[in-house]
Subunit: 405 residues, 2 copies
C-alpha cells in the first residue's frame, strides 16, 4: 500500500491550521463558523454547483481564485446567503475582514455559506465570529472546522492520506458536509481539501475535475442539486516535492491519493444522508462504457422506490431493473445479473434479467445490515462504475417536513 | 361551455361495455381483471413507457395494433408480467382466449399488466378469469373495470365528457391507474380512453401524442418511470360524426375534449400518489417557451425536498427556487415571483428571486389544505405550463418499504 490513511483531516498536511466556533448563525450554541488557513500561499482548484440559482459566496469565491491562488477558507453554516438581499456585499465584507485579520488580501479568501435559502445573512455575526475563529486557529483544529460546516449532518466527515511524491512525504486531507439537497452534477455539497504537495493550479484543476466524476458526482441522497455547493483543493507545496505539472507518475499517484480522499468523503456523505439508516453501494460492470456504468449505478441508488425497498429490507430487484431501464444511454437490458450482499452474506436475485430463485429469509437478513452492496453485471462490455446512496426512511420525511422550525 | 363532464367513464360513449372481476392475481378477493369491449371495430392510438425494460404485454399490444385497429382491452393487476419467464407467450395466449370469447381475432386485443415485476404470471388464472369477465360485461361496468386495474391506488379514477362534432353528440370516456413508479416520460401509468367519435387512427395518434405532453407527462409521483405503462384511446365512430382526419375545427374541439379527460385523470393520479395527503399544482408563466415552463413546473413538483416541505405545511420557497435552478434549459433566474395558494387564501413568498415578507401563520394555514397551488412567474417571456404532483409523506415510505408482503 503506497498510499495510507492517517489522522488529522485538513490539518494533516504541513502548514495548515483550522478552527470552528459558534457565533449565532445556528441555535443552541452550535459551531457554525469554520476557518482553514495555510501558512503560505496555495495553488487552488474548485468546482461549483451547476444549479442556475447560485449562492452569493460562489460568485465571490470564483472571482477571488481566478488567479489560481488562495490562502484561507471561511465558511458559515445555518444560512446559505442565497436569494437573500445584499448577499454579494456580505460575502465580500466577510473576505475583507478575514483577509485583514490574517494579514492577506481579500482576494486570497475562499468564502462559502450553507443552510437555509432566502434569509438575510447578518454581517454583525461575522464581525464577532471571524476574530474568534482567527484566535482559535490550531494545528489540530480539523474536527472543530468539520463540525462547524454541518447542517442536517449527524456526524462530521474528515479524512487524510499520506503518500510519497518525488521522494518527499506528502499529505492530502479533507472535510465535507452535506446530508440533504444532494445530487451532485458538479459538486453539490461542501468539500474542503488541503495538501502540502507542490502542484500547479492547472494540474490541480485537472486532477479535481477528473476526480469528481467518480467520487462526489456519483452520490445521490434526494435528487436535489443544491444552490451553494463546491469542492475546493488547496495545495501549499510545503512538502517540497518536485512540482507536479499535470503529467507523469507523480500526477497519477497524486490523483489516486486524491480519489482515496474524495471517495471516502463521498461515502461518508451518502451514509449520513438525511434520515438514512443504510449506505447503499451499487457496483456496475459489463456495461458498454464506464460512463454508462456510472449512470446506471447512479440511477439505481437514486430511485425512491429502490431506496424505500432497501429501508424495508425487501429484495425487490424489479425496482433496480426499472431504474436501470430508464437510465439514459445506449445499452441492452436483456442479460442483466443482480446480486445483493452485506456482511451477512450474498444472494443472486436476478439472472439474465429474470427472477432467480433465492431465499427471501436470507435476502431479508442481508438487507437488514447497515451497509448494502448491489452488484450489477450488464454482460455486454467492459464499462465499470460505482455509485453511493442511502435508503429513504420515515426520518427523511420528518427532517424535511419541518426543516426550518 | 361547449364540452361538459358527464358520468359513465369508458362506457359513456356509445357501443362500449366493461367489466372488472376477481380471479386470484391479487389477494383477498380484490378485483384484478378488467375488460373493455367495443361493439364494433375501433381506430386506436397508444403511447408506451420509454423505460428500456418493458413489460411483455407492451410488445404484444404494439404488434397487435400496428394496423391502427382494435376491439377490446384486457388488463390484469397484481403482476406486471415483466422480467418474468415466458411473459410474451402468456400475453399472446391471453389475447387468443379473449379474442375467441369475443368472436374476434387475437390481433384486435390490447393486453396490459400492472403489478409486481419479476414474478411468473400464471395463465390458468386467465383461463378462469377471461370467461368470467366476458360474462360480466355491461353498459355500466366502468366502475368495476376502473377498480380492477388498481394496484396501490386508494381510489379508482374515471371521467367522461360530451361534445358536439359535425352536429353529432360525441363522448369521450377514460379510466386510469397509477400511484407509484410514476414519472411519465411517454405515458407511465395505465389510461384507457374510449370515444364514439369517428376519427382516423392517424388523427387519433396525433391528438394523443400532442395531448400527453401537457397531461400525463406533466405528473410525477416518485421520479420512477415504470416498465409497463401505456395510454390508449379507442374510437368506434358510433356517434356518426363526419370522420375527423387530423385538421380543422372538429379536430381542435376533439383535442380540447381529450385534454379535459386526460388532465382530469392525470390530476386524479397525482392526488392519489402513494402515501400522498395533498395534490400540488404548479403553474408556471412568463417563461421563454411553453417547453421550459412545463419543465420548470415538473422540476418543482418532483423535488423530494419541496414535496416534504408541502407535507409539513412549510412555505420553504427556497426549495422551489433550487428546483427551478436545476431545470434544464436556457432561462434567467434573476426575477422570479412565487405565490402559494389554496382555499384558505394566497400568499406571495418570493418576489424578484428574493424573500418577500409574509405571515408564516397564514402560509401554514394555506399549506394545511389538501390542494395546494404554486404560481411561478419567471417574468421573461410568454411560456406557460402546468405540472401536478403530491407531497412526500411517511406513508410513501411505509407503502414502499414493504410493498410485496
Amino acid at each position: 500500500m503506497d498510499i495510507e490513511y492517517i489522522n488529522g483531516g485538513v490539518c494533516a498536511p504541513q502548514g495548515f491550521k483550522a478552527a470552528g466556533i459558534a457565533c449565532g448563525f445556528k441555535s443552541k450554541g452550535k459551531k457554525d463558523l469554520a476557518l482553514i488557513v495555510s501558512d503560505v500561499m496555495c495553488t487552488v482548484a474548485a468546482v461549483y454547483t451547476t444549479n442556475k440559482v447560485k449562492g452569493a459566496p460562489l460568485a465571490v469565491t470564483k472571482k477571488n481564485i481566478s488567479d489560481g491562488l488562495a490562502k484561507a477558507i471561511i465558511c458559515n453554516s445555518g444560512n446559505a446567503n442565497t436569494c437573500a438581499p445584499g448577499g454579494i456585499a456580505v460575502a465580500e465584507k466577510t473576505c475583507r475582514l478575514t483577509g485583514k485579520l490574517l494579514g492577506t488580501e481579500a482576494e486570497n479568501i475562499i468564502v462559502c455559506s450553507t443552510g437555509v435559502i432566502g434569509q438575510r445573512l447578518e454581517f454583525d455575526r461575522f464581525e464577532k465570529g471571524i476574530p474568534m475563529a482567527t484566535a482559535a486557529l490550531k494545528g489540530n483544529g480539523c474536527a472543530d472546522a468539520a463540525q462547524a460546516i454541518m447542517t442536517t449532518d449527524t456526524v462530521s466527515k474528515m479524512v487524510a492520506v499520506e503518500l510519497v511524491l518525488g521522494g518527499k512525504k506528502c499529505r492530502i486531507g479533507g472535510i465535507a458536509k452535506g446530508s440533504g439537497m444532494i445530487n451532485p452534477k458538479m459538486a453539490t455539497m461542501l468539500a474542503f481539501i488541503t495538501t502540502d504537495a507542490a502542484i500547479t493550479s492547472e494540474a490541480l484543476d485537472k486532477a479535481l475535475k477528473e476526480d469528481i466524476r467518480s467520487s462526489f458526482n456519483q452520490i445521490c441522497i434526494d435528487g436535489d442539486t443544491s444552490t451553494n455547493d463546491m469542492a475546493v483543493v488547496m495545495a501549499n507545496g510545503m512538502a517540497s516535492n518536485p512540482t507536479i505539472k499535470g503529467e507523469g507518475e507523480d500526477m497519477e499517484r497524486f490523483k489516486r491519493a486524491l480519489s482515496m480522499v474524495t471517495v471516502f468523503l463521498a461515502k461518508q456523505l451518502a451514509r449520513d444522508g438525511e434520515g438514512a439508516s443504510k449506505l447503499i453501494e451499487c457496483n456496475v460492470c459489463g456495461a458498454p462504457t464506464h460512463e454508462v456504468a456510472g449512470a446506471i449505478g447512479k440511477s439505481v441508488i437514486a430511485s425512491d422506490l429502490f431506496k424505500t425497498a432497501v429501508f424495508g429490507s425487501d429484495a425487490n430487484w424489479g425496482r433496480a431493473l426499472c431504474a436501470i431501464g430508464y437510465t439514459e444511454g445506449d445499452f441492452s437490458v436483456d442479460n442483466i445479473d443482480v446480486t445483493m450482499s452485506s456482511t451477512k452474506g450474498q444472494v443472486c436475485v436476478c439472472r439474465c434479467s429474470q427472477h432467480e430463485e433465492y431465499s427471501e429469509e436470507a435476502a431479508t437478513a442481508i438487507l437488514g445490515e447497515n451497509e448494502i452492496v448491489i452488484d450489477i453485471n450488464m454482460n455486454q462490455g467492459c464499462g465499470q462504475g460505482t455509485a453511493w446512496g442511502c435508503d429513504l426512511t420515515y426520518d427523511y420525511v420528518k427532517i424535511n417536513g419541518d426543516y426550518r422550525s
